[in-house]
């Protein structure tokens, strides 16, 4: 070290030494920079940057050495042999290039160390080639130990420099690599120079034969050369870096864009995946690593040859096998693109799972009743149709049950639709619990259900099942804490004997259901051929009744109401008659239920009101008329208007009109019904309760509306002489009515005994055959005229 120090201090020009050190520093830094840049590239790009690094390193090392040589002042004239000098520059560049190439193309730190050692050796070789190029008036004497040391230092720092140069994981390597390179150059030069002793006694060695250059010119040239190389290198590097940064930004933008895409995107080269976006990774559950180098065969079910075959555009549905082995239906759009100068395919995949789920739900909704989850009418029809086709082959009898809940409407009206819906759900649950899983249960709408009871099935078995259904559905329900009782009527049709096709079976099950209902409900009936005939006659009757309304075949008869106290007729009850052109007079009992069912009661009711008020208007002023109203008229919503119009049209004083309602009107006890009753009363008409005592809780209704009159049912009158309980009830009702200020009429009085008992009980009015049978308007008119004469 002392020797080196002395060497620098006494035999060197300090300015040139500093210049050499600076050139070496910049050179080392630039070379490492260029090398690192080249490391991130491939192909021709890498070669270019490798060459640049080699030139930068070689030139500066060479320049450092020669400037160092120029700084050497052995007090002897020194010149350089141009040939050897140029050769040493090429040697330097070649060795640097070889070393860098080795480090770049072969991975592993050992290779880099070897490459660095090679570069160190090269530095030494160049140095000694350069020293040999010195032509001076003396001779050189070599110190072998110092030469070895200089080579060792060059090898050591060269190796360390390259190890650091291409290691990007340790931050310190960033500055350590050029520093090591710098040390390798500078130290080996200094020690190398120290290894040389100059002796001036020697004969000039054929100096004149060498083309020589003066040291200062050489130094200036070298410096300019170095600066040029370095400046050009650094400028090129910056340009390239910014290009690359822009390219990288664009790539990042593209990747972000691809990742933002809702659709899965796969870029593939032939059948192998290059990359995929975030959506696809999320859809499939694969990581980017798992996807890299995966093949399309691995990702897709089957081998979608269309993905690989060239062609510009392709759309189809395929199945991706996800990371967990799940099948993912996808819609694929394929497009050929050029990527990195090569044709690639881009597959855009739309996840169809959500759509499939939605389709499934829509399919379910289309085939099921949303409230109960049971099949709906459409899918029941389809199932029935299928069953009939199967049945044609295997001949297993099966049954169609048509069910209709009894009193469901009451539940809905009294407890509200929510409770009604809850009831329907409970009914659905009980149906499911009662039939087999293989049977198809459907809600056809409202409170109508149907069951396809799969076969083989005997008639007895179907009847047993129907009975069980009636029993289970009639069990009490608890709906939001309220106890509800309903029933069910069931019609049964058995295939094939009860109908050849779906519509016949359904129709016949409905007919049987109708019979079950008219037979008192809460029971089941199987279809019989006679039901068809009944239906026919019912339809014919309906048609006839429609004609009767239009053609005036309906007429009013009037039965007298007798005031017991005044012993005179105080009014008439209007009774409807249907004079059928062929069948003669038809009783209301035979056609009113049908009229109520079909809604014909509304025009009929209007006719009755109009005809009765018109007729009554022609009677004496004190004679009133009583008209029966049906419950159906109350739900029609136009009753008050109809009554008002009838009164206005006839000119009858409202107090002469008495409207009779039965308990069935009040059964619903809805606010609407009571409102209508009050509105009718506000018109001035009077309201009577008909058939009192036959209902479910007659007395309750007296509380809900202030009736003007009670008509005690004929059954009590007929039994009053033989049955003490009937007599007691009559007394009680009359007494109660008197207390409440309600008038009473005894219906169906047929004998003098009954008459006298009734009179004794205190009824104001009696009605019955004893007083008078229903009579035609003409007969009534005649009677009233006669009566006037008698009284007159």
């Amino acid at each position: 070290v002392l020797r080196v120090y002395g060497f620098i201090a006494h035999q060197h020009d300090p300015l040139l030494v500093a210049l050499a050190a600076i050139i070496a520093l910049f050179g080392a830094h630039t070379a490492i920079l260029l090398l690192r840049h080249g490391d991130g590239l491939r192909g021709a790009n890498r070669r270019i940057w490798l060459l640049a690094a080699a030139i930068a390193a070689g030139t500066t090392t060479w320049a450092t050495h020669f400037v160092g040589m120029l700084a050497f002042q052995p007090h002897i004239e020194v010149n350089f042999a141009i040939g050897l000098t140029a050769l040493s520059l090429l040697v330097a560049i070649g060795i640097m290039g070889t070393g860098f190439a080795l480090a770049l193309y072969r991975p592993g730190w050992r290779v880099r160390a070897a490459a660095g050692a090679f570069i160190g050796l090269g530095i030494g070789a160049m140095q000694y080639t350069g020293i040999s190029a010195v032509a001076l008036q003396g001779y050189l004497d070599w110190n072998p130990a110092a030469v070895a040391l200089s080579l060792l230092v060059a090898i050591l720092f060269g190796a360390m420099s390259l190890i650091c140069a291409l290691n990007i994981t340790v931050p310190a390597a960033r500055w350590a690599a050029p520093a090591m390179m710098w040390l390798a150059i500078c130290l080996s030069h200094l020690i190398g120079m120290g290894a040389v002793s100059v002796h001036s006694a020697a004969t000039p060695a054929s100096l004149g034969q060498l083309a020589a250059m003066s040291p200062h010119l050489l130094a200036a040239n070298l410096s300019i050369l170095c600066v040029l190389v370095l400046v050009i290198s650094v400028a090129a590097l910056h340009l390239n870096r910014s290009n690359m940064r822009r390219a990288e930004e664009e790539r990042t933008n593209l990747r972000d864009l691809a990742d933002m895409s809702v659709e899965g995107l796969i870029l593939c080269d032939g059948a192998s995946v290059v990359t995929a976006n975030a959506s696809f990774r999320q859809m499939s559950g694969f990581t980017q690593d798992a996807l890299r180098n995966a093949t399309l065969d691995f990702l897709f079910e089957g081998t979608p040859a269309q993905f690989i075959n060239p062609g510009s555009y392709f759309v189809g549905e395929h199945v991706v096998i996800g990371a967990r082995g799940e099948r993912i239906p996808v819609e694929v759009v394929r497009k050929s693109i050029v990527y990195s100068g090569k044709p690639h395919q881009v597959l855009a995949l739309r996840d169809l799972r959500e759509r499939r789920r939605a389709e499934e739900e829509i399919r379910f909704l289309a085939h099921h009743d949303s409230l109960t989850g049971l099949a709906n009418r459409v899918s029941f029809g389809a199932t029935l149709h299928r069953q009939i086709q199967e049945n044609a082959r295997d001949q297993k009898p099966f049954a169609v049950f048509a069910l209709d809940l009894d009193r469901f409407k009451d539940v809905n009206d009294l407890l509200g639709h929510q409770t009604g819906d809850l009831l329907l759900q409970r009914v659905a649950g009980r149906l499911r619990a009662t039939v087999r899983d293989t049977d198809c249960i459907a809600r056809l709408g409202g409170d109508e259900f149907a069951i396809l009871v799969s076969g083989p099935l005997t008639i007895e078995k179907s009847a047993i099942l129907a009975d069980r259904l009636v029993e289970v559905l009639s069990r009490p329900y608890i709906l939001d804490g309220k106890i509800v009782n309903i029933g069910v009527s069931i019609g049964i049709a058995i295939s094939p004997q009860d109908g050849p096709d779906a519509s016949a079976l359904m129709k016949h099950a409905d007919l049987a259901l109708y019979r079950a209902k008219s037979d008192g409900r809460n029971t089941s009936r199987r279809y019989e051929a006679s039901m068809d005939a009944e239906l026919q006659s019912r339809r014919k009757m309906e048609l006839d009744l429609r004609r009767a309304i239009v053609h005036g075949h309906l007429e009013m008869h009037y039965q007298p109401l007798f005031n017991v106290r005044t012993q005179s007729v105080r009014g008439f009850e209007a009774l409807l008659r249907w004079r059928h052109p062929i069948e003669g007079l038809i009783s209301p009992n035979d056609f009113i239920p049908m009229a109520e069912e079909t809604g014909l009661i509304l025009p009929i009711g209007e006719f009755v009101l109009n005809a009765s008020t018109r007729e009554a208007a022609s009677w004496d002023n004190e004679i009133s008329v009583s008209v029966n109203l049906s419950a159906v008229q109350f739900s029609g919503g136009k009753l008050v208007e109809t009554v008002r119009a009838a009164l206005a049209g006839s000119g009858l004083a409202p107090e002469r009109l008495e409207l009779e309602i039965t308990e069935s009107v009040l059964l619903q006890e809805s606010a609407d019904t009571l409102k209508t009753l009050h509105q009718l009363r506000d018109l001035g008409v009077r309201i009577a309760m008909d058939d009192f005592g036959t209902g479910y809780s007659s007395l309750r209704y007296l509380r809900s509306f202030p009736f003007d009159r009670i008509k005690i049912d004929r059954s009590f009158i007929q039994e009053m002489l033989s049955n003490n309980e009937s007599a007691a009830i009559i007394s009680a009702v009359v007494a109660l009515s008197q207390r409440l200020g309600i008038m009473t009429t005894a219906e169906g009085v047929e004998t003098e005994e009954q008459m006298s008992r009734i009179q004794a009980e205190g009824c104001d009015t009696v009605q019955g055959f004893l007083i008078g049978r229903p009579a035609t308007p003409e007969e009534v008119g005649k009677y009233l005229r006669t009566r006037v004469k008698e009284t007159a």
């Binding site: 409970r426 009980r430 289970v472 009490p476 804490g481």
Partner: protein, 164 residues
């Protein structure tokens, strides 16, 4: 006698009493075994739903009292109403109550065919005439007097399960 959980429970406490006719004999060759299974299920379900009660059976007729929150009673009752192992269900009483009559039994079982319980036999044949409090009183007294049980015993009463 209301347990602590009841007093903390916001839902109103209710009691349901129903009667039904057994079809166990038609459904199974081993009706006693079937009944034991039913009881086991009932106790399990009741425990989860926080229901307690008593089941009376005379070989033909069931009378069951269920106590707990109204919602749970409604749910369990609907399951009972779907059960095909009995029929002709009549609801005798459904009312909001202050406290449980059978807080200690997820489903106690009494075989009323035993002639020792004339009150219960009368009740079984005509529950409509015996108002529901009478059932509770009669059964409650019986359970209390004849069966000294631990305060929070919920597993049913083994020697009361014996079939006639």
């Amino acid at each position: 006698m209301a347990s602590q959980t009841d007093s903390m429970d916001a839902a109103p406490l209710a009691r349901l009493i129903y009667r039904s006719r057994s079809v166990l004999a038609e459904k199974s060759a081993d009706p006693d075994g079937l009944l034991a299974t039913i009881l086991q299920h009932a106790r399990h379900n009741n425990e989860r739903a926080g229901l307690t009660g008593v089941l009376l059976f005379d070989g033909e007729t069931f009378v069951q009292a269920l106590e707990g929150s109204l919602g749970n009673i409604e749910r369990v009752y609907e399951a009972i109403a779907c059960d095909q192992r009995h029929e002709a269900i009549e609801l005798i009483d459904l009312s909001i109550v202050e406290s449980r009559d059978y807080p200690n039994w997820t489903m106690a079982f009494l075989n009323t065919a035993d002639t020792k319980y004339p009150d219960l036999r009368r009740f079984m044949t005509n529950p409509a005439k015996a108002a529901s409090p009478h059932l509770s009183d009669a059964v409650f007294d019986l359970l209390q007097n004849m069966l000294p049980v631990p305060q929070h015993f919920t597993g049913g009463l083994p020697h009361f399960q014996a079939m006639a």
